[in-house]
């Protein structure tokens, strides 16, 4: 089961089941081909392409106030680049920004904190320090966490980060 592929269609299905209709995105090599490109073609989703990840945090927050659920699809490097917006807009602003973050270069089956790559190792500790809930989505059964994570974020008015541990197919 550990090696069962992560299916992009399952992720998209669960994202929709969570009530998400807006996807705010910057391309990430882990998710571009099988998640973002199909989402761009999906008539049930509106994709808003942003130029920088921190913009996306604020777009999602504006959508929240407007009564819409959104997903922010980015790469972990963009997450690290956006820590001040995560702090000020998402956490202190109590905005339920739902991040889906590709862990580019993570070794399959290796926990992010044990990756050989420094940037990947620090992601979860940084989120823990900021008090931001996070979930690893790497195995096929992990897609079951998506609806709960998104619902929980909106119930708590707090951000949540779903870390995509391998390229979905």
């Amino acid at each position: 089961m550990e090696n069962a592929p992560l299916k992009a269609n399952d992720i998209i299905r669960e994202v929709k089941r969570a009530g998400v209709r807006f996807v705010v995105a910057l391309p990430d090599r882990v998710t571009s081909e099988h998640l973002l490109k199909p989402m761009l073609r999906d008539t049930e989703l509106r994709v808003v392409q942003v130029c920088k990840e921190d913009e996306g945090i604020s777009v999602c927050s504006g959508l929240y106030c407007a009564g819409q659920r959104a997903l922010l699809l980015i790469q972990y490097t963009g997450l690290l680049d956006s820590l001040n917006a995560m702090r000020g807009v998402a956490v202190e602003g109590r905005n339920p920004v739902c991040f889906m973050v590709g862990l580019l270069g993570k070794e399959p089956g290796v926990p992010p904190t044990q990756s050989k790559k420094y940037g990947l190792r620090i992601v979860e500790p940084v989120l823990d320090t900021m008090g931001i809930e996070h979930h690893l989505i790497e195995r096929s059964e992990d897609v079951g966490k998506i609806v709960t994570a998104v619902d929980g974020a909106y119930e708590r008015s707090a951000p949540v980060v779903m870390l995509i541990g391998r390229e979905p197919i």
Binding site: C51, K52, C65, A66, A85
Partner: protein, 187 residues
């Protein structure tokens, strides 16, 4: 050059039920000049006003959204011009209060103060309409048309400080006010 508070008063007189996203000094003045449940001031980080406004505009296409941005703030999020133009937010009016300084952060001049063209940035990004105003009468006469046009529209307001208004960062960044705004929007 227009006094900023006089400029905002012109907008306040024309305002109906538009959402107004305001940042920094313009926000400090706006909440006194045009108190309303449709004011949104919790932007959380410098430069982010235009991006919050885009989310509101996309989520509520039935309402017009006006953002009172700053020049230093917009320089911090110039990519948002491309994002907004690409999203085609017809209901978004993006006003930039160009005072040439980081007023809230000590009055240090912005880079190339007075020499960059915010309307030029916006046109190059794809905003279909842009305006510049440096005289209050022109702004007063032009605003009605702007509030009826399809956007996104960028309006560069050449301003300088006017009267002093009390700073109230607690109010600007109050979750309670933001929640009241959110609930008002869902009525």
């Amino acid at each position: 050059m227009m006094k900023r508070d006089e400029c905002l008063k012109v907008l306040a007189r024309r305002r109906k039920d538009e959402i107004v996203v305001a940042v920094y000094t313009a926000a400090q003045e706006w909440i006194h000049i045009s108190p309303s449940e449709w004011n949104y001031t919790f932007t959380g980080a410098m430069g982010q006003g235009s991006s919050h406004a885009l989310g509101l505009a996309l989520g509520r296409p039935d309402k017009r959204v006006i953002v009172l941005d700053g020049d230093g703030s917009l320089l911090m999020n110039l990519g948002s011009l491309v994002t907004i133009a690409n999203a085609g937010a017809k209901n978004l009016v993006h006003c930039v209060c160009e005072n040439g300084t980081y007023e809230t952060n000590g009055g240090v001049p912005i880079p190339r103060a007075g020499q960059v063209s915010f309307t030029g940035f916006a046109r190059a990004a794809g905003y279909p309409k842009t305006y510049e105003f440096s005289k209050l009468d022109d702004w007063d006469q032009g605003l009605d048309k702007i509030l009826k046009e399809d956007g996104p529209i960028l309006v560069d307001l050449k301003v300088e400080p006017g009267e002093d208004y009390p700073e109230d960062f607690r109010r600007l960044y109050s979750i309670e006010h933001r929640e009241a705004f959110r609930k008002a929007l869902q009525k």
